[in-house]
């Protein structure tokens, strides 16, 4: 269709476009009333008022992660829940249903320059035709959401102990099993601290090899001296065996002391943090926990001391090192003497055989040792997490949820203008389309030439519109 014909049709039917623009504007207005929940008597040209508050929340999903063993509810879920809407409606005795209110509450994650996932910032928006009512609703939503947040995420010691007891028991059993497996391995293969033993054996073999070369080897050692050396070696070996036998229990007790000591350190640190919050209840809780941890530490230390006293040992690892060195030295002297008197080969051969026996045991020994270390590390971590949980619940509400911006009425002028413009543009578009279609299918004679063709007569005059 020619542009001229369309423009002529538009000039004739402009009122259609105007009418549909009006319909579009009316539709925009109606949409705003409908979406804003307006009722008869409180219509506004710009629809509903939006009250918006900004809240920073310490989310439990991050601070209390427990691999799903503890249900956690974040702030956004609480704000969007029907339960919260019911509480707000009941509290304000609002003349609306909880479902209706729920549809008017929007929460979204605010953008920050630093993406801190552990403390997101939420923007909570409540719509209502009445601005004052919107503010009241938004205030109440924030307060009730804060209460619900604390109620649903609060933990006490018994809950934590109950939820973690099975895990702790399992990890302790794993650690004990690892210790037992390592001990069995050591007994069966007559090895203790295999790496140290290997080092000593290698040093001994090297020493023997060197002694055969050196000229200064005593070849005139008396049999009395050799007997004294033999006796001293036997005594040292016996003592070493006794100390080695104490090692597993000593290590277990030392681990308990280490565990209790870590807990005390953690709680002491939190004690100083909580002291700054001026929250007596939180301080009391943390102090109680810290006292209990200190008692556990003292008990573990007492057990360890009693064990040491009863077995006449001090620091077992250093004693073991000392005694192992003594035995090695005595053996080296004994074997050196034996080599001088009887021949190096006879002495060196069994020691080299012992070295060869020990070397293949290294991988299995390493595996068992790692297993024990892993079990102990997991147990240490679990206990630390348990204290984290207990301490996190002692945080006061003011710390867990802060209102950055109090509810305020947000201008929706831009959105209103956009919506009206959209309605007008849509109406104009539909109007222009209808005019186009009507003009396209309009077979009326439009020009003098068409009339002359239609009638076969000359057109004397064109009568324009009278208006």
């Amino acid at each position: 269709m020619e542009l001229d014909r369309y423009l002529r049709g538009l000039a004739q039917r402009w009122y259609l476009v105007v009418f549909l623009i009006g319909v579009g504007l009316l539709g925009s207005w109606g949409y705003m009333q409908w979406s804003g929940g307006a009722s008869w008597g409180n219509f506004r040209w710009d629809g509903a008022s939006n009250a918006v508050a900004t809240v920073a929340v310490l989310e439990p999903t991050v601070t209390r992660a427990l691999n799903g063993q503890q249900a956690q509810v974040n702030f956004a879920s609480i704000v969007e829940s029907l339960a919260l809407s019911e509480r707000v409606v009941n509290r304000l005795r609002a003349d609306m249903t909880a479902d209706a209110l729920k549809g008017k509450i929007t929460v979204k994650l605010g953008r920050t320059l630093v993406p801190n996932v552990s403390m997101p910032i939420y923007s909570v928006k409540v719509e209502n035709p009445d601005p004052q009512r919107a503010l009241d609703l938004c205030n109440t939503v924030i307060e009730e959401a804060r209460l619900m947040f604390l109620e649903m995420n609060q933990l006490d010691r018994s809950q934590v102990d109950g939820s973690l007891q099975a895990e702790e028991t399992r990890l302790r059993q794993e650690a004990d099993a690892a210790r037992a497996a390592l001990r069995t391995f050591q007994e069966e293969n007559r090895v203790w601290k295999l790496n140290s033993q290997l080092d000593a054996q290698i040093a001994l073999v090297n020493s023997l090899r060197q002694s055969s070369i050196l000229e200064g080897v005593s070849r005139t050692a008396s049999s009395a001296a050799r007997n004294d050396l033999q006796r001293a070696l036997s005594e040292a070996q016996a003592e070493l065996e006794r100390v080695r036998g104490l090692q597993p229990e000593y290590e277990r007790l030392a681990f308990e002391v280490s565990l209790a000591s870590a807990a005390v350190t953690q709680l002491s640190s939190r004690e100083s943090d909580v002291a700054l919050l001026n929250d007596p209840q939180a301080q009391q809780t943390v102090q109680t926990e810290a006292e209990a941890a200190r008692i556990r530490l003292a008990q573990a230390r007492a057990n360890l001391s009693a064990f040491q006293r009863s077995n006449a040992i001090g620091d077992l690892p250093s004693e073991l090192a000392t005694r192992t060195a003594t035995v090695s030295e005595l053996r080296r002297q004994q074997l050196t003497a034996a080599a001088a008197s009887g021949g190096l080969k006879e002495v060196l051969a069994p020691e080299e055989a012992e070295l060869q026996r020990l070397l293949p045991l290294v991988p299995l020994n390493d595996e068992l040792t790692s297993r024990l270390s892993l079990a102990e590390a997991q147990l240490t971590q679990l206990v630390a997490r348990k204290f984290d949980l207990v301490l996190a619940s002692t945080l006061p509400p003011a710390v867990q949820l802060k209102v950055l911006d109090a509810p305020r009425i947000q201008s929706n002028l831009l959105w209103t203008v956009i919506l009206y413009a959209l309605g007008a543009v849509l109406g104009a578009f539909v109007g222009l389309l209808i005019v186009y279609l009507v003009t396209y299918y309009d077979r009326c004679p439009q020009t003098v030439a068409e009339v002359q063709e239609l009638t076969g007569s000359v057109v004397l005059v064109r009568l324009p519109r009278a208006y």
Binding site: R443, C444, L460, R465, Y467
Partner: protein
């Protein structure tokens, strides 16, 4: 009195002589009576449209459509000028021929025949011609209404005799309206030629309004008694075949089609 029947084609049967003479004198008398009573009637008839007109020879405007009634009415001067141009054309044709009676025809109701006839009459009267508008649409007479008086009002003033035409004033100098000679809404063919002759004797132009010719044959009948036909076409959906049939019919009747008035309203 012997009348010369201008525009009557020889092929048509001649009217009844005796009746024609007697009736012609009656018509002339009726017209004289109407002319003398025009001044007294002027002040009595309700003439809404006339009162709204800015001057005596201003055109009669159609009733605006609904959406145009929402806004102030501003008449376009082109509307009046179009009729002045049409009147000028008619006068020019009349000067070079024997054009005295003009039939305004149209195919469908609402084409604008009555308004065209009335406004052409006003425009011709404005040029100093004496014009008689003859209401030939007996089924739906509109001319009288346009000038502010319903036929019923005329009937109250002087009871209408179906065999006696009535002349009425219009408020426009040199312009009179004549009610049809009608019987049950159908134009009396036999009475028409003497009436036209009588009117031509007192006026420079006789303009006849007619019913839509695609619905009633009156227009074709009238075309055989007039000197020229003005065909009105409105800008709306048209049936080209029907229009061709109308033109062919007019050609068959030997009608003198002066031209077309293209009504863009």
């Amino acid at each position: 009195m012997t009348l010369t029947h201008d525009g009557v084609k020889p092929s048509l049967p001649p009217p009844h002589e005796a009746d024609a003479d007697g009736f012609a004198s009656e018509v002339a008398e009726a017209c004289r009576q109407a002319a003398t009573s025009a001044d007294s009637l002027n002040g009595q008839l309700a003439r809404r449209d006339l009162a709204e007109r800015s001057s005596t020879y201003a055109p009669i405007v159609p009733r605006p459509p609904f959406h145009r009634r929402l806004f102030p009415r501003v008449e376009r001067p082109e509307y009046a000028e179009a009729f002045r141009l049409l009147a000028l054309n008619m006068r020019q044709v009349a000067a070079s021929s024997s054009l005295r009676s003009i039939l305004v025809m149209g195919a469908l109701p609402g084409d604008g025949r009555t308004l065209t006839a009335a406004n052409l009459g006003v425009a011709l009267a404005g040029t100093g011609c004496r014009v008689v508008l003859m209401e030939s649409d007996g089924r739906k007479p509109q001319l009288a209404r346009l000038f502010g008086a319903a036929p019923e009002a005329w009937a109250a003033e002087a009871p209408l005799n179906v065999d006696r035409p009535r002349a009425a004033p219009t408020g426009v100098p040199n312009l009179a309206v004549v009610l049809p000679v009608a019987r049950d809404g159908v134009l009396a063919r036999m009475a028409l030629p003497p009436l036209l002759a009588a009117l031509r004797s007192v006026a420079d132009f006789v303009i006849l309004d007619s019913p839509p010719c695609l619905q009633f044959a009156d227009g074709f009948l009238l075309s055989t008694h007039t000197n020229g036909v003005l065909y009105v076409v409105r800008r709306r959906q048209q049936d080209a075949a029907a229009q061709r049939a109308v033109q062919e019919q007019l050609a068959r009747l030997g009608a003198n089609v002066l031209g077309v008035v293209f009504n863009e309203a």
